[in-house]
Subunit: 436 residues, 4 copies
């Protein structure tokens, strides 16, 4: 488990903070102090985790880039997530006012904005332009998936724009791209670093305790669940189905279910389940309908993919290279309808897919602060010449995590954990809905 | 245009208000004063509207039913609508505390709850039970469509329960049912009246200036439109499509579009449009996408039904007898995708259907008061022995409207009105999207 | 009751709507059709109301001002009210895009912005500038009270700026000022009209069924009452006191109390009450505290002024000439504290004054539409050369009301009305809290 | 720094989880694994922190109390805080459904409910009763300050009720009381433990990374700041002052200021400031008013107490023993008014005190989950016979913290930290407003 952070070497420029903010003198962060990855005493660790420790995020006394000559660039990739504008705003404000970096380019439409063939000109980002953008959802730069087929081409563009610090805000695919860009830049000997701010509304990036926008997202999901609950109770044998985000990890569904307790069945990618059979979902659902006459099902988009007979090897992929999931929500709705029709039991199914409504929310106050900090720490890292890393929060401390480590595995719900038990307890569903 | 309200005749019981609330002495309403239907001077009216005037809603000095012997019943029918619980609560509180009617039955699951074959027992409604229900969306009685095949059977049930006042809260189909029940009761000589509170989230009942829940609904729709706007701007050539309620009248879509100005194209049932051709939606949409790179379309569920080649005569009908509309939202999404694929123009379509989320909201403060008043006026009318009517607001005054009149035609947007012009002005779309 | 609207005479310019919006041909409004003031048949009217009728608001086929030569100006006066920005935005959009009036001045800080001594330059209002302002509370022009000492001076300024249409958005004081300006302009023979949009968060202007922002205001007040309720229940013998706006009319307090039912005592300017004595507030409050251990009081700022021994004739006045009310909220809090201390009964008083929080809200969706319409109707009236009027809603129709009539008396709650009874019923308090 | 947790000894009863929830087998927590207090490598620690480590919270395989014979009791003390009902609900649900403890007493009105002289009977808490309470702000048990004069008396009551586990939810004063109760119980040899859930809306308890309700609170505070901002911009030289909670620590004010960036001056207890003089608040405020014509000040209630000439030693104290602070908000408002009157500069001051509105909010989704977990961990600790502790979150892990340690010092903002610098950066105010 390699926690080493790459950097461009020479850090011989005194931070402008030294003179400008004397009250911050004790707040400079040293590279020699690290945060333990595992923090328990008396715990037996696997060898690779023994002694693992992260570099701390924060301002350095000596930095690599001369602010007035530095060109920064920001790109947002992938699907929308609450807080994107907050991160952009924070990076611009920190670059401009704190370090004095005045040239900040906003790359349009994700990595595609670096592809000359697309013809998208970058935006000049200024404090005036970004002043109020955190009040709005989405991203002023717009975003897109893909654009990562020819990374050398993208680096050519960055080089031609004389970019020194590229801030990439995106998920798995984006970070993989960022890792490649950082590698090419190092190989070419460019004076350019790449700093990532991990974006995953699903909260599924490893070594990152929490991703920005996640809290806003599950809080908004609570409202959709409430609606499903009201609809389910509002008709004879009403069944409300809410499909939430969560391709590989069901954290949004789980947290939303925990927060309000209106969900009776939660289905996540981490926990396989049967539909048919004596211990399948349908049998348990029927029991509930017969006794209580209404039910709410919350399903993460990546749940039950095996049921859809999806060929994970040969399946369709989107432009970011993510597997295109079949829609489990629609599938469930149709199957449940069939099931009860066969049982000759009238049910009223109300299907809610609030994904776009959730994704497009402005960040809640907590996420707003979180994004602001992520942006600042990203600028500190970039100015210090560090590269190929993301800013993560771990043990409640902001740290530098190598991109390669962050994307090495996915964070998922552990079905044997107290957390998942709490979710089960909140829904009242059986721990296991697989037939023997 | 017959505005006459039927009643059971003898009104010889002094209202308990006379002694209990002496400060209300001047607030009793007389049947001899009526409100003009049309209120303009110098306007030429069609003969049938000449002199038309509604009876005023409100408490009568002399009433028909002896409170302590009266049995009331409440039923909610059709789809959910914000404010249902507020109306139920208000009827119960007014019956119980103001008139002293202590026996109030809550009929479960719409008219089906009057069908002995279904076996649903009514709930005893008490102030304690309904005290806080207005804080929740939906209806505590639950609702359903249909159940109106054999009205005599339903009246048998009401008779067996000795119901004197039936309060029906529902839309077109429900009101037609209520009209039949009232007729049967009169024919049988029962001491029973039927008072309706018109429920239409679409605000499409005639002679009713505004229906309860409508305001809550279009206010909630604004949030979905905002999401579509954010999503549309968040991707290259993003197109956000929001489908809103409105089977025959596009008031929700129109008001939501007016309130926030993020919609670029609004499609309602009242205004036909073409998709293809030089003046069709697609051509105008393409122009916008090419110039602005994002667009928001707001479509009422009943818009463009001609395009779907629906046979309005032979089409499928749901249990309330309403024509089952094909889903214009999905249809549009697919067609737009096809169109731009053929043009080889990359677009990103985000489709949002917030209907259940909107329907299940609790009433906003204004609707909450409105529902409370509708409930009270319904009780006043019922206690005075009036029947076969709904409580409506007209010229900003609460009035008694015969059910037959209320369901005689539908309220729709006039495409030649200033109102529709305001909507067009807010969206910026052409007044006409039909090809010559 | 004089409903005549003054105008500049010659209306010989065809409205640009004739050619631009042929679909609106039937939507032109004629001066010859009027709306009845009273709309009941069989009602005995006082002679002055007999036959009274308002001119309808709306676009005229022939207008007075030549759009391309017209200079418009907008001013906002008095305290903040939700929707001010919506009205400003609507006036600018209607002038600019619909009529083609390109020169629109925004007067800063109320009438003071017309006083050369203050040195405030007007802002050039453009569609770009006002595009998104309706999302924010307050007014982009800023506001102030007063500035109405020397109206001739203000007209001098308007004349020097060549203003043809002055839109004034404000309350009583502002409208009085507008009336004077209109009079001076007519006397001087200027080609200038004055059109008011009545602003009163208290909803207390006569002949105006509802004022903009009022609904947003009482809806926000509901939240403060909820807080008081929670606080009252959260401590032994907790008493929550909420002071709401309402200098002379208690509509905000009454509507907020109706909407949520958490208030136990409501005090409004229209209904006098005693504090002490066997039928005073304190005795009733004590009874409630002893039996239920918590209570919520909602008091309008103008309630109980007689108790404060205010000398209404000689009292202090603010810059708009409004009498400075002593703070009944603080007074009540202190007096209640004293009362229970003397009774040796521990109570916990929580005092909430949410006025600024309420006033500064952005308009809710309904008010947003309402404001947009008021703004449009104001522009129609102004372009047609009408002057000395306000746009009002009456019988649910938009009408022209002479300023003099609108300010001639104040709209207040009638304590003998069903409306007030509903409020009493919601609170459960006695109809009368005066000692014999 | 003593992190040892006291306990009643014998833990020989197998947890009912062993059989009931076999999927949780790996989720049992061992006392032998501890979490490091400090988690940095290469950091020089003070000797007392060297090796310090907390016991982990969570379910134990063997427990002390026999569920079916156990009596639990819950008490909420001090001022309201979002989430109180969530914690109560969680404790009841966990006791009842997970462990099988059926007798759970709700103590009314804080510690006063244990004082027989007050005569408050406890409530029997059941799942039915607490099912939906998390949707409401406040506490169903009601709360109060004080009641801690004679702890032996309170223990007598607990003994007479045969309480085995007392859950105390409260702040400093409450925890001191809980520590005394735990000590007396141990001394008397009672089979009774005391487990605290720390409640401080100010987030000022040490060794606790975050307290419940804090996030809900500062999020709500953002709205009040927005109002102050709108009001300040809405009048000539408008000054909005918002007073927020924060007796000794300004975290709410700081976080709210960070989240929205509308604050120009923030005043917290941790950072002394002058009002007068060339570097005092007034001089800086005047500069801002002259250049920008509006300003927002956010002041924590405990800020600037030295200015109020408060005698911290001899000052008045409330029933919980907390020093009664003079109201810095009112003081500032008056002083600023005086200052500008003397400078003959017209300013418009709008003062907002949203404290009760904030305190009474229901918990936001995140806090709701957080409270649910705190409640569960408290029950796990109690059932295992642990006493004199609180459940805290540290390094993002739930831990047992001895009460004595938790109350030993207060958590405060470090004015030399990056966090405070971020706040200053958000406001733009000078780092230092003391005159030399």
């Amino acid at each position: 488990m390699d926690c080493t952070i790459k950097n461009l070497g020479s850090c011989d420029i005194p931070s402008p903070f030294i003179d400008k903010f004397p009250h911050l003198d004790k707040a400079f962060i040293s590279d020699t102090i690290k945060m333990r990855y595992r923090i328990f005493l008396g715990e037996k660790l696997p060898p690779e985790e023994e002694g693992a420790a992260f570099e701390l995020a924060g301002q350095r006394r000596m930095i690599h880039f001369k602010p007035e000559e530095t060109v920064a660039a920001v790109v947002t990739c992938g699907g929308l997530c609450p807080g994107l504008n907050d991160v952009i705003r924070s990076i611009v404000m920190e670059c401009y006012y704190q370090y004095g970096v005045k040239k900040i380019l906003g790359i349009r439409y994700g990595y595609n904005g670096l592809n000359p063939a697309k013809g998208w000109e970058p935006v000049q980002l200024t404090p005036d332009l970004v002043e109020d953008i955190h009040r709005d959802g989405g991203t002023i730069l717009s975003s897109s998936r893909g654009g990562t087929d020819n990374m050398d081409l993208l680096v050519d563009t960055l080089e031609s724009w004389r970019v020194n610090i590229l801030f990439t805000i995106g998920g798995d695919g984006t970070l993989n791209g960022a890792h490649q860009i950082a590698g090419i830049a190092l190989k070419r000997g460019l004076d350019m670093v790449v700093v990532g701010v991990p974006k995953t509304i699903d909260n599924d990036i490893s070594y990152i305790q929490r991703s920005f926008g996640f809290q806003t997202a599950f809080s908004a999901a609570v409202d959709a669940i409430y609606s499903a609950h009201v609809e389910a109770k509002g008709a004879p044998n009403g069944i409300g189905i809410v499909k939430l985000m969560g391709r590989h990890s069901g954290f949004i569904a789980a947290n939303a279910s925990l927060a309000m307790n209106d969900v009776n069945f939660i289905l996540v990618p981490e926990v396989p389940f049967d539909l048919e059979g004596p211990n399948g979902l349908f049998a348990h659902l029927e029991k509930r309908i017969l006794s209580r006459h209404h039910a709410v099902i919350c399903v993460a988009e990546g749940a039950g993919q095996d049921l859809l007979n999806s060929d994970h090897e040969g399946g369709e992929r989107d432009r970011s290279g993510n597997l295109v999931l079949k829609d489990i929500g629609i599938y469930l709705k149709d199957k449940i309808k069939d099931y009860f029709r066969q049982r000759d039991l009238e049910v009223n199914i109300k299907y809610i897919d609030p994904s776009y409504i959730i994704r497009s929310q402005p960040a809640c106050a907590e996420d707003s602060i979180f994004c602001a900090l992520l942006g600042q720490y990203a600028v500190h890292a970039g100015m210090a010449g560090k590269t190929d890393l993301v800013i993560g929060q771990w043990n409640n401390i902001y740290a530098h995590v190598p991109i390669e480590l962050a994307v090495s595995k996915r964070k998922r719900i552990n079905p044997e954990s107290q957390f998942w038990h709490n979710v089960l307890q909140a829904t009242g569903q059986p721990a296991n809905m697989k037939n023997p």
